[in-house]
């Protein structure tokens, strides 16, 4: 993709801008679809219908919502810390958007082919916490501050098990480059990391259960990292209005929303790359190629997003102490034990 653009318009700034803007275009389109799917799934799980009036079965509703948010008055509380208040949503979005730079969207498209891709994503995602803390503090509102503190505590706690789960996969694959990691999983469903990658059959039998546990650990902790139910205590509508987003309106609120959905896809995509082959086709050499690979990547990512939505509308919210219990007393020891087990298997 990059090479193609280079031959087309030369190695100019425009080239880089296009490469950088493509994931943004994807995020915007995906957010519209994800909001629609989320609302429809939520409604049908509760035996309702959701939007039915705007277009066929309300397909135009996300666009209408977006237009409404664009037109809304952008209010800033008088007592708010103006600079941080304005800056916060952009920092949150930058944090989640920067993760897309290292995501391999297909066999021939990746924003930046980093050697430490997954490491970079884990690091840059921490920027989201900074933005959330800024939003909560600058709003000068007790609910916002509570939400921000909870979010910070939660995201930092859950980064540990998720990092351990990532570490386990990286140990087997031997690379942190997500493009190489995906390429290593080509050649059929049996080469996916959740099925032990390209290890020998004997080792696979031991590795598969470990990988399953690691996947659950990663998926649960990623859900907590994007602040979604059952881990939505930072936003907890019934307790904290909207948490750190309470004082935001109009476009700034929309950016928070967009960041949440971008984050949701980012963590699902990382889970895809780490465990389900990334852009690798499940049918060995069938349905491969740049376009098919992009299709597989997005389809797998969306599937995991749907599972996330499914869980969101199934489970109730955790209490703060339960949340910490799950992270520190369940996920972290399990992830640690799995990493230890994988290390022993690899050495053996």
């Amino acid at each position: 993709m990059e090479q193609f653009l280079k031959t087309l318009i030369g190695d100019t700034l425009l080239n880089h801008v296009i490469i950088a803007a493509l994931p943004l275009v994807f995020i915007l389109l995906y957010a519209l679809v994800a909001i629609y799917v989320e609302m429809k799934m939520a409604a049908h799980m509760q035996d309702r219908l959701a939007y039915m009036r705007t277009g066929w079965h309300g397909v135009l509703q996300p666009i209408a919502d977006m237009l409404k948010l664009l037109q809304k008055e952008d209010t800033i509380p008088a007592a708010a810390d103006r600079i941080f208040f304005i800056l916060a949503p952009y920092i949150v979005f930058v944090g989640s958007y920067a993760a897309f730079a290292a995501l391999p969207f297909g066999s021939s498209f990746i924003g930046s082919n980093l050697n430490i891709g997954i490491f970079y994503i884990v690091a840059i995602s921490s920027l989201v916490v900074v933005g959330i803390m800024m939003a909560g503090w600058s709003s000068n509102n007790k609910w916002s501050l509570f939400g921000a503190l909870r979010a910070a505590a939660q995201i930092i706690s859950y980064e540990i098990p998720s990092a351990f789960a990532i570490l386990g996969v990286v140990m087997i694959a031997g690379t942190m480059n997500l493009q190489e990691l995906s390429a290593a999983q080509t050649g059929g469903i049996q080469h996916w990391m959740i099925f032990g990658g390209t290890l020998s059959l004997m080792k696979k039998l031991i590795v598969i259960p470990v990988m399953l546990v690691l996947f659950v650990v990663y998926y649960v902790s990623s859900m907590a990292e994007v602040n979604r139910t059952p881990f939505d205590i930072p936003e907890a509508e019934s307790e904290l209005v909207q948490g750190y987003m309470t004082e935001y309106s109009g476009m700034k609120f929309a950016i928070f929303y967009l960041a949440e959905y971008a984050n949701l896809f980012a963590v699902s995509a990382i889970a895809t790359v780490l465990f389900f082959g990334g852009w690798a086709s499940p049918f060995a050499s069938a349905m491969t190629g740049p376009l098919w690979s992009t299709f597989w990547f997005v389809a797998k990512g969306m599937l995991l997003v749907c599972v996330n939505i499914w869980l969101r509308w199934t489970l109730p919210r955790l209490r703060v102490d339960q949340l910490m219990y799950v992270s520190w007393k369940v996920l972290t020891p399990f992830a640690f034990a799995c990493v230890l087990a994988l290390g022993l298997i690899l050495v053996w």
């Binding site: 799934m41 409604a43 799980m45 035996d47 309702r48 219908l49 499914w310 199934t314 007393k329």
Partner: protein, 205 residues
């Protein structure tokens, strides 16, 4: 309980119950929605649903019983006596109508749909219909006037009623005068009445 068993039991139950929950929500994903798309699809109302009031003025005898029954005073009725020569017709229940009803206003915004006005009506002319979509942009449009009389008719009815009243009053006065004359004639024979009684009589005149 053994703490280790409790720890793993908790985890097992956590995963198991989450799975059960997911199963339930997945099933509901494909069950039929209970939503009724209201303005396009309407639910059938029960047979005895109480909604907007309607008055059949052909049957109204202006008895004011509905207005008296109304707990929120939303019914406003004015009546004019009809002249003996006027034939206001009969109600469908066979009662003779004796009163003109120039005003029969129901402020439906005040109405609480209790239906208490329906039961006392002797001619069953006020009833609750199944119409429930009658929102208005102006509150005053919710005052429904059921009277069928035109202003001219009301005027003539009023004039007639006044005349009747005057005639009645004149009759009464004549009767009173006659009675007084009789009383005076009676009083002539006994000694003169007390001055206070005389004053009182003057007042009544």
């Amino acid at each position: 309980m053994n703490p280790v068993a409790e720890y793993f039991g908790n985890i097992y139950r956590g995963i198991k119950t989450a799975m059960i929950g997911m199963q339930i929500t997945f099933k509901h994903l494909f069950t039929r929605a209970v939503t009724i798309q209201y303005p396009t699809v309407k639910m059938k109302l029960p047979e005895r649903a109480r909604n907007r009031l309607y008055v059949n003025m052909d049957d109204c005898i202006g008895c004011d019983q509905c207005a008296m029954a109304c707990p929120v005073d939303c019914i406003d009725i004015e009546t004019i006596k009809s002249a003996p020569e006027d034939n206001l017709g009969m109600t469908s229940t066979g009662q003779k109508k004796r009163l003109h009803v120039p005003v029969f206003d129901i402020d439906i915004a005040k109405c609480c749909y209790c239906g208490l006005c329906v039961y006392p009506c002797p001619t069953e002319c006020i009833k609750m219909t199944d119409v429930y979509e009658f929102s208005e942009f102006d509150r005053h449009n919710l005052i429904y006037s059921f009277s069928t009389m035109t202003p001219a008719e009301i005027e003539t009815a009023k004039v007639k009623a006044k005349k009747m009243e005057e005639e009645a009053a004149a009759k009464k006065a004549a009767a009173a005068a006659a009675a007084k004359a009789a009383a005076e004639a009676k009083a002539a024979a006994p000694p003169a009445p007390s001055p206070a009684a005389g004053e009182q009589q003057q007042k009544t005149e």
